[in-house]
């Protein structure tokens, strides 16, 4: 039986078209254009007065020159790699910090739970920019961290404007995105499963690896994706906390777009970033769907 489509079912498609597909096509079109000294600073532009001929001329003028340039410039390749490294390390650190946090929260009594949940969400009520600035105050040579280290007699650390500072900033900023899906997965976990494991002879620490961890994997994947993807494109944190050595692709895009006014090139950089991020997710989902079918 063919299911009748209700207008409500069209809504997500419409929203995706307006807020995702259309901007993406704009960027894609920009990336296939050439840089020009004009306002806006790119060419070709569609000559609507020429009708079909104008459209034809527009499509004929599109090319992949920007991508070729991108492939030739080692700097961008390095920026991609270093962004992926920053994001991967940051995601793993966020998981290491966030998992015990979410686990502890899920074990609390319901009243305490909601308070802790509130505290995790609370930082979102202040501006992201201000929170990153606050880290400058903590990490700078005479900052809070070094004052504390001085108190307990440890040599001061020179962290600000180093890759380590960027890493700290990334973990701090994206930790809630790790904790919340993990908490949701762990809180749902049926306590009797742990009792069943104990009943079948599994000591508590083994039950964690045999029951809790595998059942929290969907939360781990969701948390990691939610951290990793925005971390790769992160621009403010490396700009404020990182030195010249902490090259990240988000910052490169910003430079090309605003400093060099090279919109087509910035767009090409952004498209390549998008593809590198989307491809693994799509592959993962297809593999998941296959695994699910195989089980039937």
């Amino acid at each position: 039986m063919r299911r009748a489509r209700s207008p409500a079912a069209l809504l997500p498609g419409l929203w995706l078209a307006i807020f995702f597909a259309f901007p993406f096509l704009l960027v894609l079109r920009l990336s296939l254009s050439d840089t020009a000294l004009a306002i806006p600073p790119y060419t070709p532009r569609i000559d609507w007065s020429a009708g079909i001929e104008g459209l034809k001329a527009f499509f004929a003028a599109l090319d992949v020159e920007m991508y070729r340039r991108l492939g030739e410039d080692r700097l961008y390749f390095d920026a991609y790699v270093s962004s992926l490294q920053f994001a991967a390390t940051g995601t793993i650190l966020a998981l290491l910090v966030g998992y015990p946090m979410a686990y502890g929260m899920a074990k609390c009594r319901p009243g305490t739970r909601s308070v802790l949940l509130m505290l995790v969400i609370l930082p979102f009520w202040t501006s992201f920019l201000i929170r990153v600035y606050a880290w400058i105050g903590i990490l700078k040579p005479q900052g809070l961290l070094n004052a504390f280290l001085g108190l307990i007699g440890i040599e001061p650390l020179d962290l600000l404007y180093t890759p380590a500072a960027v890493q700290i900033g990334l973990v701090y900023s994206y930790l809630p995105f790790m904790v919340l899906p993990l908490y949701a997965a762990l809180e749902r976990l049926d306590h009797t499963l742990l009792e069943a494991a104990a009943d079948l002879g599994s000591p508590p620490w083994k039950s964690f690896w045999q029951v809790t961890w595998p059942l929290s994997i969907p939360g781990v994947i969701a948390g990691c994706l939610l951290c990793f993807i925005p971390m790769v494109g992160e621009f403010i944190i490396p700009d404020l906390l990182g030195g010249p050595g902490s090259l990240m692709i988000g910052r490169a895009i910003w430079m090309e777009f605003f400093a060099n006014r090279d919109w087509p090139f910035a767009s090409a950089v952004a498209i390549v970033l998008l593809v590198t991020l989307v491809l693994p997710i799509v592959l993962y989902q297809r593999q998941q769907a296959k695994a699910l079918e195989a089980g039937r």
């Binding site: 009792e195 079948l200 002879g201 508590p204 045999q210 059942l215 089980g295």
Partner: protein, 396 residues
Amino acid sequence: MSRPPAAKPPRTQPVRRNIGAVRSSFAPWNDPDATPLVRFEGVTKRFGDHVAVDDISLDIYPGEFFALLGPSGCGKTTLMRMLAGFESLDAGRITLAGVDLAGAPPHQRPVNMMFQSYALFPHLTVEQNIAFGLKQEGMGKKDIAARVAEMLALVKLEAFARRKPDQLSGGQKQRVALARAIARKPRMLLLDEPLGALDKKLREETQFELMDLQVELGVTFLIVTHDQEEAMVMADRIAVMRDGRIVQIGRPEEVYEAPSSRYVAEFLGDVNLFETRVEAIDHPMAHLDLAEASTGFYVLDDDCPAPGSTVWLAVRPEKMRISLDAPPAGEKNVLAGEIWDIGYTGDWTNYIVELPGGRLVRVAQANARRFVDRPIGWDDKVWVSFDPDAGVVLTS
């Protein structure tokens, strides 16, 4: 010449027979030399102010199928969870085969539990679920595979070995849970409301399967249930619980036919309770006084207190007769009334009879015949009667 005094009419002496319809030679609880497998000694558990389990002492013998029966909140599940190690004891001790279980965490106890929700691991296949307990023992891969295959055959789920629990029906899940719990050959299997989630037909089938399995495995079973039929069908002995205490222990027939209190009589099956006064005791019979019964009741005087005391006579509906004809004058244990309601269930018909005072009496009759000469209808005048040994005199 004076006439010889009229001979007393011969009194029909009721013949005392064995209780219940089942003969069983398995009764280790009556054997003074038998050693119990599990002993609860003065076991108490409090949750805040609430006493969930109140000073319970109980012996369960090897090979027994023992049922803890009671309404929800009576402490039966808590008692079982204490044996499994999921609840601590506030007083008393539990020994298994003579070993005190205090301090042994759940994963070190030689008992296995089948959970009410089944608690199957959703991320593992059927065979992995069954293998879980064996893996913990450090059993070799080959031995595990052999034992899992054996268990799958036992519960007839060979075709479902690679399925995940959410791809199984309720009955199949129940079997996997059972197979998982017995795979480790526990000393004792604990079953928490094992059939609660199954539909009626499947439940009856599974009851007999569980009984067969228990005999086949020779494992001691402890079952927790609120379903009296389930407990009666399967168990060798039943402990009826109320408010954290055991109110009666006995074979299903004993608990049903000789309840020790109104609570037990009412909890197991249907019962008509008459509050009466003991008029006289003429061993082996007792006369009870009741306004609705013109001639009073005339019953066995077992455990009947002295004349003048208030007692309750409990008579099961299926032990009463119903008739459209008045019984011969002078017959005892007769109540006259009018049909108030009739419930036809196919195998049984339940007649609700209203006595002159407004009290309702329930009579159940097996529909042994397909055709009836004079069917009973609404508002018919009827007579209800029962034998002297049909009722139980209760003092509490």
